[in-house]
């Protein structure tokens, strides 16, 4: 027992915890961006777009391709790195948007009046197709970008925040605020909210539902493209990344209250924090019984607890009827 207590206290330093908090929040900001795509589509169609994670995965490969074309290395000058990253972002956003639009058109639209399980099955089919396509024709290995924008800002004692982390945080927050304004203020956003509330009534009021749904997919997928750039700045990718990242993003969307934009953001941050703190301290906290191999279990356990005890999410918006 004493040994366990020692273990528990020995790893816990304020610096360590702070560092994990920073890592968790940056990871969570990417989850949040992906979560928005799930959240928006679920809000409008009540469909879990299983292929959304794979759209994000395709985005990461587009980023790899663009940066590879320009031969970026860790020592490239800022004058080259920033335009190339911007270009990669635009390319990833565009390609993901086209992909999301196509997926909706090909795999979901013909099934709009089919039994409810049918679109889920075709979503799974699309997801397998995209993963296998990348593995067959591009690569089935792990890839990372060179260490771009190296350097960090010291915060407190040994705790630092890296430039890329700042970039990830700032850009995801900017994107989310932008999306929030789009949904609140434009006529397209008004259409989306109307369709989410009551599809039939919205159609009767003259909302062009097909157009709204298409744009929902386009915007959600483009955000996944942004998330892909940010992800590649700090993490690695392979063809299966879409599934796990997608699942965690969906969890984030549910935690925050699905269909709710600030909720998705909060959910993403919470999940990122839980994951990085869990992975760092679970071994010591459980006296060596659990190791960081259980990392993915935390996300699932979090999701299950959330759905069981508060299915409408933290930012309670909808009635729990759907859960």
């Amino acid at each position: 027992m004493q040994r366990c207590l020692d273990l528990l206290t020995s790893g816990l330093t304020p610096e360590g915890i702070l560092q994990q908090l920073i890592n968790g929040v940056t990871l969570g900001s990417v989850y949040a961006l992906i979560a928005l795509g799930y959240s928006m589509v679920y809000g409008v169609l009540e469909l879990i777009n299983f292929a959304h994670g794979d759209v994000f995965m395709i985005g990461t490969f587009v980023v790899l391709g663009v940066t590879g074309q320009f031969g970026l290395t860790g020592t490239s000058s800022l004058a080259l790195v920033i335009p190339v990253l911007l270009l990669a972002m635009i390319a990833a956003m565009a390609l993901c948007a086209v992909l999301g639009f196509t997926i909706e058109k090909v795999a979901y639209r013909p099934l709009r009046r089919a039994p409810r399980l049918a679109p889920l099955i075709s979503a799974i089919g699309v997801s397998f197709f995209l993963e296998a396509w990348i593995a067959t024709y591009v690569s089935s290995r792990d890839h990372t970008l060179p260490n771009l924008l190296a350097g960090d800002i010291p915060l407190y004692a040994d705790v630092t925040i890296r430039y890329v982390q700042v970039l990830m945080l700032v850009s995801s927050v900017v994107m989310m605020v932008g999306l929030q304004q789009l949904v609140r203020r434009t006529s397209l956003g008004r259409g989306m909210r109307a369709v989410a509330q009551d599809r039939e009534a919205a159609e009767l009021m003259g909302v062009n539902m097909d157009r709204v749904i298409s744009f929902t997919f386009i915007i959600g997928s483009a955000l996944a493209g942004v998330a892909a750039v940010l992800w590649m700045l700090n993490y690695s990718t392979n063809q299966t990344i879409g599934f796990i990242a997608g699942l965690k993003a969906f969890t984030a969307a549910v935690i925050g209250g699905i269909g709710n934009i600030p909720g998705a953001m909060l959910g993403g941050f919470l999940l990122g924090l839980a994951e990085s703190l869990g992975a760092a301290y679970i071994s010591n906290a459980s006296c060596g019984i659990f190791s960081s191999a259980y990392e993915d279990v935390f996300a699932f356990a979090f999701l299950i607890l959330m759905l069981v005890f508060r299915p409408s999410g933290i930012m309670r918006e909808r009635v729990s009827q759907r859960a």
Binding site: Y42, E46, L47, I48, G65, V106, A107, P110, L111, R113, A114, P115, R116, L117, A118, L120, I121, S122, I124, G125, V126, S127, F128, F129, L130, E131, A132, W133, A135, T136, Y137, V138, S140, R199, E200, L247, F250, T251, V254, G288, I289, S291, A293, Y294, D296, V297, F300, A301, L303, I304, L307, V308, P311, R322, A323
Partner: protein, 425 residues
């Protein structure tokens, strides 16, 4: 150049290895296929398509007839024996999937609970069999355990070696209990949320199986459990490749094939009785409208748990036989993909219909196992076909008569679909 090579080269296109060139080529192919379908549709005279439709009708009659199915089931492996072993092992795998599909059909088809973690039951069954019919638990027991030993074991052996007659039902029961454990926290969830939570449970099960070699070695981690006893009856070991019937050698897969066939018959018998019983009608009521069912006096809580338990029971049995037939099990065999494959079989066959589940498992199983088995190309083709299949026939191959009626009613009056939110999945 074999057919598969030609197919691979055709998909790859003539423009080299650049992904964008391949993408462009495949988009071109897809566009051409779409155009051809658009042009052909409605322009072919009815007489020309008559043989095709007749063949489809004939196939449907045969597949709906359980005796015809049984006859095929009895003799197919014997025919396959003549063509070599590969097809036989494929057929045997598909048979296990038939058992799984009939089990999952109880949960998804009858009761309408979308379960994406069905592989957990399969895994629990396999691990129960693996632990109690192998030397694996030697370290824990630290002694020779020797009760209800399978007869093949000569002399005392380390670890447990319980007979399959006890273990297969026990594996089913353990999986059923696991089903109830998963069911309790998820009772309030419906539809897509339930799907995600069950998916989570499935993955959690696998991650635990993968890591429970520490602090106490229970599952032997990623390496899995090895040296699992084969099924034995009397002195006849199913796993012995030297078994002979007269001059004919009996491969182990053939033994297991007929054992599973027997189990399938038993399962289909039980499940079809269940479907028409009070319990089955209550399940259908829950599927159609849970709130209304509750108001009508159905104990939805217990019946939903019963659905999980029954579905789990058959999944667990399938897992036990899988473990016995393979001699070894590892967490990698219990990936999410298995759950998805079984679900696809149920949906493709027609949800809520037992012949549908059987036929769905056979058709999708052969599609999957016989598509070019190059590492990822198989999944590529499978994913594409899946989308195509569900778009062409969203109600499945052999939907249950009741469900088909429901769908037709809705098609006649689209406003009805729009007006009623419908039962979650």
């Amino acid at each position: 150049m074999s057919f598969v090579d030609a197919f691979v080269a055709f998909l790859h296109g003539p423009f080299g290895n650049n992904p964008f060139a391949i993408l462009a080529w495949q988009a071109l192919l897809a566009g051409a296929a779409y155009l051809i379908v658009r042009l052909v549709r409605g322009r072919v005279p009815r007489q020309a398509t008559a043989p095709v439709r007749l063949a489809g009708k004939g196939a449907s009659v045969v597949l709906r007839n359980r005796y015809a199915l049984l006859l095929i089931g009895l003799f197919l492996p014997l025919i396959e024996l003549l063509t070599g072993g590969y097809l036989l092992s494929v057929t045997y795998s598909i048979e296990l999937y038939v058992l799984l599909a009939v089990g999952l059909n109880i949960v998804v088809g009858f009761t309408g609970l979308l379960d994406l973690g069905y592989v957990a039951f399969f895994a629990v069954g396999a691990y129960v069999y693996g632990l109690f019919a192998s030397p694996q638990l030697y370290e824990i027991t630290k002694q020779t355990t020797y009760f209800l030993v399978s007869q093949s074991v000569v002399g005392p052996q380390p670890g447990f070696h319980i007979s399959m007659l006890v273990l297969i039902p026990l594996a089913g029961a353990a999986a059923a209990l696991f089903g109830v454990l998963i069911g309790i926290p998820t009772l309030r969830l419906r539809g897509d949320y339930l799907a995600i939570v069950t998916l989570g449970f499935g993955e959690i099960t696998r991650i635990f199986a993968n890591n429970l070699d520490q602090p106490i070695n229970i599952t032997n981690g990623p390496n899995g459990i090895i040296n699992i006893d084969p099924v034995t009856i009397g002195s006849y070991s199913f796993g012995n490749p030297a078994n002979h019937l007269g001059p004919f050698q009996i491969p182990p897969f053939l033994n297991y094939y007929y054992l599973v066939l027997l189990l399938i018959l038993l399962t289909v018998f039980i499940v079809s009785r269940l479907e028409r019983s009070r319990v089955g009608r209550a399940w259908a009521a829950i599927r159609e409208d849970e709130t209304a069912a509750q108001v009508a006096g159905i104990n939805t809580r217990n019946l939903k748990l019963l659905a999980y338990a029954s579905g789990g029971f058959f999944g667990g049995m399938a897992g036990a036989i899988y473990a016995a037939g393979q001699h070894l099990i590892a967490p990698d065999s219990f990936q999410l993909f298995v759950s998805i494959l079984v679900l696809v079989m149920v949906v493709a066959g027609g949800m809520g219909s037992i012949p549908g589940a059987v036929v769905g498992a056979i058709v999708v199983g052969f599609l999957y196992f016989l598509s070019p088995s190059l590492l990822y190309l198989r999944i590529l083709v499978f994913g594409g076909l899946l989308v195509l299949l569900i778009i062409v026939r969203p109600q499945g191959f052999l939907p249950s008569a009741q469900r088909e009626r429901e769908l037709e009613e809705k098609e006649e009056d689209p406003s009805l679909v729009a007006a009623t939110p419908g039962p979650a999945p």
